[in-house]
Amino acid sequence: MEILGIFGIFVLVPLIGSVIAYLFRKYAVAVAAIFAAVPSIALYPFYDTNVSRIINIGVKLNLTLDPTTWFFMLMLDTLAFSALLFAIPYIKKAQGNFATLILVALAGANGVLMARDFLSLYIFWEMMSWATYLLILRKSGEYARRYLLFGVLSAYFIIMGIGIVYYYTGSFLYSATTGIPMSGWFWILLFLVLGFGVKMAVVPLHVWAPYAYCAEQPFVAFLSGGLSKLGTFGILMAMYSIAGISILQGFGTFRGVSLFGYPFALLGAITAFIGTVLAIFQDDLRKLLAYSSIGQLGYVMVGLGLGTSLALGGAIFHAFNHAFFKSLLFLGAGAVIYRTGKYKISEMGGLGYKMPFTFLFVLFAIFALAGIPITSGFISKWMLYEAAIAKKFVFIAPLMLIASVGAFLYCFRILYGVFLGQLSEEHKDVKEAPAPMLAAMFILMLPLVIFSIVPGWILGWISKILVSMGLKPLEYSTFAYYSPIGNANMLIMWIAFMLLFMVSMIIFMMKKARVVDQLDNYLAGEAPTQVQLHAAHNFYKPLKDTWAPVLKYSINRAYEKFSQFFVEGFKEIRKMYTENPQDYAAYMGIAFLIFVLVGWWLL
């Protein structure tokens, strides 16, 4: 393994593992989990190191493991490991190819993170892309194609970007991009950002996400939490490492923010808003989470677009948080689906009493998603807001803030619809999720709590990344963090909260309470034994009615019309091949004439 170094550990081990895991038919996923654990453990020696290596397989792959890569890789490998751990009980049939494909996707993802030249970036990107496609194909067949098309679209945007770089420099290296004119940079960055933006599901390139996220939950957790972060990483590298801040500033600045980045920031804010609004009205648990992660990645996009030190730090931190809490949510949903077999929120209810641990984990994830300060989810949102407000951006900031208010709505939708309310008759004997699932969820919950008490650690890592990209480091201490216009100290907040919680605990403990059955309930004197009390169906109806005139427009349908139009055109063109030899002979004659004439004209 030392011969190949980082390539061996982070790319070959999963690849070999994928083949080996396939052979253990029944235990494939467990074996795969072990192979996924290797890179995530092997990562720790590489903390704050800078290892590079060139692998020559006929094309040269330049791989580097620096703090940026380390940070993202930590995220991804942990997610992959816990997703596979979760999948051990979850995946019942065809374990083999699930495990294989997840590991291939992991290898591809690690490769993308380590790649320092466009060729290997593209190779690993596509590897990850088709493995993901096949994983989606396992569950939701028709929509997998949609994912693949958008995946290929993004790949081709990236190819355009790469090609223009190659046109100017004749090299694929990230480092060799000197002497490219600004016009060239504009197109390169545009194509690269669009390409990676597809993976981040930025509106209007988001239509693949809601359907792709209906695949098996452990994989979706990895896809939404982990693989979508490759988009973040790609944009980060493209804009701030390959191009660099000075090039971006070269496009002209608006209050110190690059005019190239600002539209993307605005787009991100719009994405956050649209994703949130659409998430509020979903009844399918998986779709709700999908739209919410579209919205959350919108926040990340804002940070990437603004590109001040604070905003970028916030974006990276939010990507980290989103990776963990959204995977946690998807896994929680997976646990519920695994136990009940239902997807619709309105068909569940009261499961929190039967699955307390799952409920607690999901509750923490939702605190993080809603940005409640007792989780680290708050800090990243805080940084993004303050970055936007400090720069006096009066369009981005309100959109982000109102979107985060909307997040409360769908968060409560999940909590109430799934875990609270009435426990329906058919779920009377639902059991708690099996141990591996709980373990996986617990692993994902830890960072959210730890980094909310001690944000200093992770802010330190992020500052390293920012410094390596030539930006100012963040201002932070172990427990507190600062922006130009404000500050917050998590330790004091925690202590105060704990003390006050104890105070209210004392008042609460003065009297004992008696537990009554859920049907012993105020129903105007009625006490029926069989009744549906769960008010989760079409939960936000009044809001939906008020939004109806806006909601009737759908980007999705626009795409379908578009593709329909083209297929009709293809049918017309197909008529060119009349199955008639005379015509074909005529074609040859005409072709001969045209060729000769063109040739003579060229002389």
Partner: protein, 474 residues
Amino acid sequence: MMVQPVLLIALPLFFAFLLPLISLWSKKVLKYVVMGVMAFNAILAFIVLIEALKAPIFDIIAGFQPPLGIVLMVGPLGAFIALVINVAAFVISLYSATVTKEPLLKYYMLSLLILMGATGMVLTGDLFNLFVFLEVTSIAAYGLASYNKDRKGFEGALKYVIMGSIGSSFVLIGIAIIYAQLRTLNMLDIATRLGEMDPYTKIVAFVSLFLGFGVEAEMFPLNAWVPETYDGAPHPVSAMFASMSAKSGIFALARVIFTIFAFSNYLWFVVIMGILTVFFGEIIAYVQKNIKRMLAYSSIGQMGMIIMGLGIGTVLSVQGAFFQMFSHAMGKALLFIAAGYMIYAAGTDRMDKMKGIGRNPLIGIPLLIGILSIMGMPPFIGFYGKFYILMGGFQQGYYAIIALFLAASIVEVAYYARFIKIAFEKSERKYPAPNIWVYAPLIIFAIIIVLFGIYPKPVMDILSHVAAFLAGGA
């Protein structure tokens, strides 16, 4: 040891006419004999390749010195393509064992002849031999195309005959013009003395040769025969067309473009023909319901990509083009074999009737690998060719054409994804399990695709000789 490349041609020819005698003794052994011959040929081709990598081989036949005599001119690239053709031929010959329809004797003779013709077209250094081998290939191909003796077969074969004969007559005209002006047929000789030709006639000669080989190379608009012929022919034969005759045609085309007439100012037109081929091939493949027709149109698209690569004409793109020949020969042969099995197993050639046919891993995994490779997904061999051709295009700054090409290949991805979905979706229908003659070739091709996809270094080393080839060498 010094291997005579001529053996590559002589051996199949010899055995093709030995087969009747063998069949008198026993009909059973025929297929094993053919497999043996082709396997031996493949090994021979490999040795020749190693030789050719040291230095281009000029093998003079019957003692006449060039420019008078006929000569085999085996450069590294020629040897490489020859190797590809022979390997493909050998693996396909395994699949041919499933062909049971009489007269088997003729089938095997013709398949040996098509191999001989294709190899000859690649190896020869002499324009007239090129024409002769082209004729051999085409005539064997006509025979094989109509081998099924059914309506589809005959119709396809007829169209192939018409187009093919027009094409070869074009070639003959071109050769005639050149000979009339230069009194020589040796390619290098022609290349050196091309300046003496009257430019207008030179164009005519070039276009004639270009179109003539364009028919074999499935270039737009000369490719109309492709879908019906591929559809009508027996399944192994479709695989042969895709991986052997088409490859020899495109290699001949490459020779015409670079070795003989090294125009630089005409190339952009070739690029346009290439992109048109890609475009129409892919979008018409999208609306096909018949699997073999879909594959046929998609192989038109692939060949168009190769023509594009040749036309772009930078070292990188031509390397890509040759890599694409290799990957397309392997991948498309795999897909045609798989399609053959599917048509046999599902009892129809309509794709929507093949639900869940790929759920048997012996078929499914190679099928998936083949399709991904054709789509150009790393780490399969299909990727490198596509990527290099594109990068070459970027070097020349053909942005619009590349955008068009990428759009076309999104369409390609769309229809292959549709097919994957059908092939792997759940269905209670049970299909007969493939026998060894079906899945062995599939697996061999799949292994080649993955192996050279993960470690393409050997191929890349061979393709590093492209520069010399472009300079007008072998």
